[in-house]
Amino acid sequence: MIPVTHLSLLSSALFCLGVYGILTRRNAIAILLSIELILNAAALNFVAFGRAFGHAQAQAFALFIIALAACEAAVGLAIVIGLYRTARTVWADQVNLLKG
């Protein structure tokens, strides 16, 4: 039997690693990778608790998370590529295009 405490702790750890990545990374693509980690932690938590309590909707929400992650990756990487084309940089703290 898989203890749900184990998976809950694992997904918390994954989430916090993603937060750490977002806080420390400078490259915009690396920040997107950290966001993927966070989304995966959420999906894992959904599936683990859905299995623990026998809910069918949990897997449906995990599917939604995966679909939203695909949207986020497509739009985010498009923005990064457009940014690189415009500002010649992918470092998040060098981007000041909207600064007045």
């Binding site: 694992l10 916090c16 990778l33 299995r51 986020e72």
Partner: protein
């Protein structure tokens, strides 16, 4: 019981795989290697889905995440990082060590908070023989969750159109 032992071994192996490669994702300086580590994380999470008897979700995870998103990320890295590296300063130096320490503190505090909050709920444990079947999930998707399902299609279409509009190269004038 041998099958229980197998499940426990797989669980610990996958946990180790996910945690170590997630550490690589946030720590590796080389962005390409970080993306490949993300692939390992995604495969590990798919394995955990199999252990949780959500096989369809594991397939979807591997197909969409490893097959599509990771390919997209690798393409974006090759389009930006490699070309930009010689021209850009290697790393903007702005208190990197202190920032790293503060971020680690924040993440550790968040982890302790999350662990203590979910502890009571998670202690309920798994009941055997309650695996959710795929047909149940499908029925939920077209009855109770039909509105979010349609909404996600709309979001998907608009995101794809938006991504193409943002990333499309300007026509040479």
């Amino acid at each position: 019981m041998p099958s229980s032992l197998l499940i426990q071994t797989g669980l610990w192996a996958l946990t180790l795989l996910v945690l170590v490669s997630a550490g690589f994702v946030v720590a590796l300086r080389n962005l390409f290697r970080a993306a490949l580590s993300l692939g390992l994380v995604l495969v590990g999470v798919a394995g955990l889905f199999v252990l949780l008897e959500a096989e369809f979700l594991a397939f979807v995870q591997i197909l969409i995440y490893v097959g599509a998103i990771l390919t997209l990320v690798v393409f974006a890295i090759m389009l930006t990082a490699r070309v930009s590296n010689p021209r850009l300063p290697p790393r903007p130096p702005s208190g990197s060590g202190r920032q790293r320490m503060a971020a680690a503190l924040v993440s550790a505090a968040l982890f302790i908070l999350l662990a203590s909050v979910t502890r009571a709920l998670a202690a309920a444990g798994l009941q055997p023989g309650q695996a959710v079947s795929l047909s149940q999930v499908g029925q939920e998707l077209i009855t109770t969750l039909v509105l979010p399902f349609e909404l996600i299609s709309l979001v998907f279409v608009s995101a794809m159109v938006g991504a193409i509009a943002v990333a499309a190269s300007r026509s040479p004038r």
